[in-house]
């Protein structure tokens, strides 16, 4: 072979080797491991932190709320749909409590061509032209009234279970002391929810918590219905130490949820009319001071002074209790 040809071939070979060397040097090791891509990019993508935590993450702290939600019609709508994605909650991020529920709820429930009939749809202008949806609907269990039907037999059994409650709440549902709440005529859904909260530890009270824990889960609805069906006595005379007239003015801000006369449309909220004044004072104070937790009540009670609370309690305690709940 002529010298110049062999030199040329040698040079070409050298270039090929150099090219391969450059390729080996510049291509990362994991390329081609599983195919024509960088294998390391797969775990890189998988390592991204999820934003949505799913209801499992909520269960450890919000068990009562979760139980209420699981039993209601919204059980397919996870917490973070309304409260926002909650990565780093509770340390780094607080959950949002939606305030404009009309715009929130109509995202799904606005009557619109194309939406299947299986989903409840309303024309807001006819359904309820003003006010918030949560004035009547409990967002965690939106169907109004108790969703759980109670059989007469269960109601009969509840009468014997209720004997254990009589020491404080009275045999007829009227509390034996001003500091305990009357249960007669109270909204069943609210009693059931409160009992559930005491059972799971969402509400803590030294006397009530062990009593509630002794009630079996399946007995709760009947017990609630039993007390709700009792008739309460319309109170007479003066109630508490507050000024009922001043309380009446303040009570306007309670009306959205608790109703104009202390009787709420949404039976998930408690009826306040005819309730014992001392109990109301302790309940509102507990919300204000953070011992009882409810986003709406904590907000509502935040600015109240001790006098305001006493006035409110006197006003509500003096209202005719009535037995109609809806």
């Amino acid at each position: 072979m002529p010298k110049h040809i062999s030199r040329l071939l040698l040079l070409m070979a050298a270039f090929v080797v150099a090219a391969l060397a450059a390729k080996a040097f510049f291509t990362v090791n994991s390329f081609y491991r599983y195919g024509h891509y960088r294998a390391d990019s797969v775990p890189e993508i998988a390592a991204m932190a999820p934003s949505f935590q799913t209801p499992k993450a909520c269960a450890s702290c919000h068990a009562p709320r979760l139980a209420e939600w699981t039993g209601g019609h919204h059980k397919t709508v996870i917490c973070e749909v309304c409260h926002g994605a909650l990565p780093g909650h509770p340390e780094a991020l607080k959950a949002t409590i939606p305030t404009d529920t009309v715009s929130l709820c109509t995202q799904c429930h606005e009557k619109m061509p194309g939406r299947p009939d299986s989903i409840r749809q309303v024309d807001v202008s006819q359904h309820h032209p003003s006010g918030q949806c949560i004035s009547c609907h409990n967002p965690h269990a939106p169907k109004i009234g108790t969703a759980i039907p109670v059989t007469p037999a269960a109601l009969h059994a509840a009468a014997s279970n209720a004997a254990a409650c009589a020491a404080c709440h009275g045999a007829n549902g009227m509390a034996t002391s001003d500091i305990w709440p009357n249960l007669a005529g109270q909204n069943a859904a609210y009693i059931a929810r409160s009992l559930g909260a005491f059972k799971t530890g969402g509400r803590v009270e030294p006397t009530m918590s062990p009593m509630a824990q002794a009630v079996a889960d399946e007995d709760v609805p009947a017990l609630a219905a039993y007390f709700a069906a009792m008739s309460c006595r319309t109170p007479t005379g003066k109630h508490g130490s507050g000024n009922a007239a001043a309380g009446k003015t303040l009570a306007k801000q309670c009306a959205a949820c608790h109703g104009e006369n202390g009787r709420p449309v949404n039976s998930a909220w408690p009826r306040l009319s005819g309730q014992n004044a001392a109990y109301l004072v302790s309940a509102i104070t507990a919300f204000r001071d953070g011992q009882r937790k409810n986003p709406f009540m904590s907000e509502a009670a935040r600015g109240l002074g001790d006098n305001d609370i006493a006035n409110l309690a006197s006003y509500f305690a003096g209202l005719p209790c009535g037995i109609e709940t809806h």
């Binding site: 960088r38 994605a85 995202q107």
Partner: protein, 283 residues
């Protein structure tokens, strides 16, 4: 390159070329050794991977799964919670023009043959939402005579034979063993051939990063045992996600129990999002 043979009378050039030749030979020798070492290294990768065990995430073996997505369009209410959740979960630009998943509305009005199709970028819908950071379908057919209307959620189909992967010049997009089509943002050069190649319009250009972006079926969630964010938040279970290797998974059952269809089967991409409740107009 051939100068040393045609003009041998210039010693300086010859010396120069000779030196280059020697340099190349040395580099070649070093690289050859490197190649052998590299090839050897590829057989025994440093990261625990290959087959079995856990890759690409702890406790997750990508050889054990074959994921697929299902959409029941008859259930979709067009609430767009999926769209908002996807944006939050995957940090997608909050505007009405870049979506990893989106929902289309088809409305057939009385006396018209073709449907009216709209989606989130429609100005009427942006106005109804109040801002481009929120998404909502305007109730624009409230007073119209609607013969039929329905919503169709759309997203990347994670095709079995993805055209986007075929055209990528850098190997930045690829098909994983568990059925996902992913994008390596470090290797993407932003040429957007894949955006053109996708018959479903599932890809878009991420202007902030200068790379192509698209739905990953929330790979980071699935490898942790969670559902994709859009599936998680769907209030009516119109979106489903499951493992085809598991005959009891929600998607396996969905495919078995329904007459399912895929979008644009004629393109040969073999998509993996299965639909029921679509009309002939939906592509």
């Amino acid at each position: 390159m051939t100068n040393d043979t045609t003009k041998p009378e210039v010693p300086a050039r010859r010396i120069f070329l000779r030196n280059i030749g020697r340099g190349a030979a040395c580099a070649g020798a070093v690289a050859g050794a490197g190649l052998i070492a590299g090839a050897h290294g590829a057989d025994t990768p440093a990261t625990p991977a290959s087959d079995g065990q856990s890759f690409p995430a702890p406790g997750y073996d990508w050889n054990a799964h074959r994921w697929a997505f299902a959409v029941d369009a008859t259930k979709c209410i067009g609430c767009l919670r999926c769209v908002e959740a996807c944006k939050k979960e995957n940090h997608v630009a909050l505007d009405a023009h870049h979506f990893r998943t989106w929902v289309e509305r088809y409305a057939y009005l009385e006396g018209e043959e073709k449907p009216h199709v709209d989606s989130m970028p429609d100005p009427v819908n942006i106005q109804a939402a109040g801002s481009e950071e929120k998404y909502r379908f305007a109730n624009r057919y409230k007073d119209a005579k609607v013969e039929k209307a329905f919503f169709v959620p759309k997203l990347c189909n994670h095709c079995t034979h993805p055209a986007c992967v075929q055209v990528c010049p850098t190997g930045a997009t690829y098909k994983t063993r568990d059925g996902f089509v992913l994008i390596d943002h470090k290797y993407c050069i932003g040429c957007q051939y894949c955006v053109q190649a996708c018959p479903y319009g599932a890809r878009f250009f991420n202007h902030a990063k200068g790379v192509t972006d698209k739905c990953t079926w929330c790979y980071h969630r699935v490898t942790r045992g969670l559902m994709p964010a859009c599936v998680e938040v769907c209030p009516v279970q119109a979106r489903m996600f499951g493992d085809l290797n598991d005959p009891k998974s929600v998607v396996s059952l969905f495919i078995r129990n329904n007459r399912v269809q895929v979008l644009k089967p004629e393109t040969g991409n073999a998509p993996n999002v299965y639909y029921i409740g679509l009309d002939k107009e939906v592509v």
